[in-house]
């Protein structure tokens, strides 16, 4: 339990990368990238977590109540936006690639030298 969420983060990263490396479909690879990206959300939020802390919103609870770190929350928010927008851009590129090459399979998108 002491390191479980950290281990989950490492696992998500590697399993996402495994998906990209073995992928036969670019759209599949893009979703795998978003899984790898989600490892950072898990890692950031778990390092900022404080057992027994509330959410850092002091509307109903007074200031001074033990609360979790608000900074990692803000960082993860940014991270989620970045991940989503990169995925959208990649999807558009994949659609383009399909238009030019007639396939989404990276094996068949070969580099033509010269």
């Amino acid at each position: 339990m002491r390191f479980l969420p950290y281990a989950v983060a490492a696992w998500l990263l590697l399993v996402g990368l495994y998906g990209i490396v073995t992928s036969r479909n670019l759209v599949h690879a893009i979703i795998c990238l978003s899984v790898a990206q989600s490892s950072t959300y898990v890692l950031l939020l778990s390092v900022g977590f404080e057992r027994g802390g509330t959410a850092p919103v002091f509307l109903d609870v007074p200031v001074g109540t033990k609360a979790v770190d608000p900074v990692v929350g803000a960082l993860t928010l940014t991270d989620i936006v970045v991940g989503a927008t990169v995925s959208a851009l990649l999807l558009a590129l994949a659609v383009q690639a399909h238009k030019h090459h007639g396939t989404l399979d990276p094996e068949r998108l070969k580099s033509e030298q010269d």
Binding site: V21, V82, H101, P106, L109, D114
Partner: protein, 604 residues
């Protein structure tokens, strides 16, 4: 309060939004002019910042959140001459590239200009930032803009594949980067570089610090295209539109190196100080990058791809300067990086001129067809000399400093690396220049396929426009000016002393200390033997180029011997660089494991 650092980022962002918002009613010429002027203003702001931070870093707290008792609450830009210099370089290259594109570029309405300005603003923010997470944000900002810019030349199907590979591999790099940031934050509860450095300075590096350094280093190395993280680069850079390629090759790769150096000296230098082996690990990456890039460069016949591999090999040379982990090497690396960026930007424009007039960039198909483009020929030749680091180019001065540092640090063999690699890249360029513009070499069998445009195409554009040539000439002039400016070597060494002084940086950020630090007297740089080395590089390059053009004139035995070694090696290297995205990511993980194992071994 003087808002200059914030304006250098906010101004291009504001113009970008305005250009996009007004796209439907904004005439094309107005948008063109606005983009060029904005880029030029950013360059001027960079210069103004550079002038201001010579006496110590300029620290700018967004929202006015100055630190309390050494605890940083907000985000700071910490501008020093190195960061400001890179920001200026980006502004200059963007101005040149946008001027070049004035006549050549069919923009999708004005959206493209908006994207270019966001790209520029991201680079500037990245160079000025003094906060690790903020660096990540700006890193992603210019990267996302770059992915889109790399992929949208719909006439070349390869550019989409290149952009995909680029975006996926670099996004994986960004994930590693963020993992490193999370590790450091979990340990120290800080994101400001200075505060992080203070927190880590309390003890020697343990496993968390080693892995955090590894993740940050690899994340930035992906952008810099250090071997084996470089497989994405050639397609992305070579197939991007010229206006984008100028910035890619000129400054973006270098940003990755800058970031490793910045983070090393502000955050990790105290805790890794005892580990001499770190130097060896970094040098290993540098040597591999320089050699692989140089050999691959020589193997290319696509002019832009050639420049892309030249970029990789020179990243290796620059990294070698930083890897010596001393102020002299760092100063040389910075100087080299600035001058080399200008030279490569100019070369990319020259290739753009060739492409614009001949509708092709394949060296063998173009044999002799560039005879009516004397400007491009001259630019390419002079640029090749600049790449070789011949005096009085700025690249020469930078290399001289790095060689001196290598000698003093006990790595004299690095000097040989500089000579050989500069010879390889300049040989490739000289060979191509000779073939395309002078028609040298035995006639090539005309390629059956390929975009061989009829020569009337060249007749339709008989004139090379000033907007195409002048930017390239000015960039080369800038590279010369860096080499000739009196006193620049001393100023750069002062800047490098500050860049590598963690405690002074921390004091300036956390306590607002702004001591007019006494500049250490610098011994004069030895120039004679580096000059001989540079001339040797250029001659070697010329010889190699001629040998490649006229292999039949070589003695048969020599030719056979070379072919036995060279051909299988070349075939293997070519096979590795197939442009498969899975390969890029697999090699990235191999590099992560390899560098990680080495770092773990040397830091123990």
């Amino acid at each position: 309060m003087d808002a200059l650092p914030a304006l250098a980022v906010a101004f291009p962002l504001l113009v970008a939004a305005a250009l996009v918002g007004l796209a439907p009613i904004c005439p094309r010429r107005v948008a063109d002019a606005a983009a060029v002027v904005t880029a030029a203003i950013v360059a001027a702001l960079g210069l103004a910042l550079l002038a201001r931070c010579l006496e110590g870093p300029v620290v700018y707290w967004f929202g006015g959140w100055t630190p309390r008792d050494g605890i940083v609450l907000g985000v700071a830009f910490t501008v020093d001459p190195v960061g400001a210099g890179l920001a200026t370089l980006a502004g200059v290259l963007a101005t040149a590239a946008l001027t070049f594109s004035w006549r050549t570029f069919e923009a999708v309405r004005t959206l493209h200009h908006g994207l270019m300005l966001v790209f520029l603003a991201g680079i500037v923010g990245f160079c000025l930032s003094g906060d690790l997470f903020n660096m990540f944000v700006f890193y992603e900002l210019f990267s996302v803009a770059a992915y889109a810019l790399a992929g949208y030349r719909t006439t070349d199907p390869g550019s989409v594949r290149g952009a995909l590979n680029f975006a996926i591999t670099n996004s994986v790099g960004a994930i590693l980067l963020l993992g490193g940031i999370a590790l450091l934050y979990g340990r120290t509860g800080a994101l400001n570089l200075a505060q992080l450095g203070q927190a880590l300075a309390k003890g020697p590096a343990d496993r968390l610090v080693v892995v955090a350094f590894l993740l940050l280093m690899v994340g930035f190395f992906v952008k810099a295209a250090v071997v084996p993280f470089h497989f994405w680069l050639a397609d992305a850079y070579a197939l991007a539109p010229t206006v984008v390629g100028v910035l890619f090759a000129g400054v973006v790769s270098e940003l990755g190196l800058y970031a490793v150096a910045r983070v090393y000296w502000t955050v990790f230098s105290a805790s890794l100080a005892g580990a001499e082996g770190v130097r060896g690990v970094l040098l290993l990456g540098a040597v591999a990058t320089a050699l692989v890039g140089g050999v691959m460069c020589l193997l290319q016949h696509h002019l832009a791809r050639m420049l892309a591999y030249a970029t990789i090999s020179h990243v290796g040379l620059t990294l070698a300067g930083f890897a010596l982990l001393g102020p002299v090497g760092a100063g040389g690396a910075v100087l080299y990086l600035l001058a080399d960026g200008l030279v490569k930007g100019s070369l990319f424009i020259s290739v753009g001129i060739v492409e614009h007039h001949l509708h092709d960039v394949g060296e063998r198909r173009l044999q002799g067809r560039g005879r009516h483009l004397p400007w491009a020929a001259a630019l390419m030749t002079v640029g090749a000399l600049g790449l070789a680091g011949v005096p009085p180019f700025g690249t020469f001065l930078g290399k001289a400093l790095m060689e001196e540092a290598a000698f003093e640090a006990g790595f004299p063999w690095l000097i040989g690396l500089y000579v050989v690699v500069a010879a390889l890249t300049s040989a490739a360029l000289l060979r191509a220049t000779g073939r395309v513009f002078l028609g040298l070499g035995p006639p090539q069998a005309p390629a059956a396929s390929g975009p061989r445009a009829p020569d009337e195409a060249a007749l339709r554009h008989p004139q090379v426009h000033a907007t195409q040539v002048v930017p390239a000439v000015l960039l080369l002039a800038g590279a010369l000016a860096i080499g000739l400016a009196p006193g620049l070597a001393g100023a750069v060494q002062d800047a490098a002393d500050r860049f590598t002084d963690r405690q002074a940086y921390a004091a300036a950020v956390l306590q607002g200390a702004r001591d007019p630090a006494s500049s250490r007297p610098h011994p004069p740089v030895h120039l004679t033997s580096p000059a001989l080395g540079a001339v040797l590089s250029a001659l070697l390059g010329l010889g190699l180029a001629l040998a490649a053009l006229y292999p039949d004139r070589l003695p048969a035995r020599l030719r056979g011997g070379v072919a036995r070694v060279w051909d299988p090696a070349a075939a293997m290297l070519r096979g590795l660089h197939g442009g498969h995205v899975g390969d890029s990511v697999a090699w990235l993980v191999v590099g992560l494991a390899g560098f990680g194992t080495l770092l773990a071994l040397v830091v123990r």
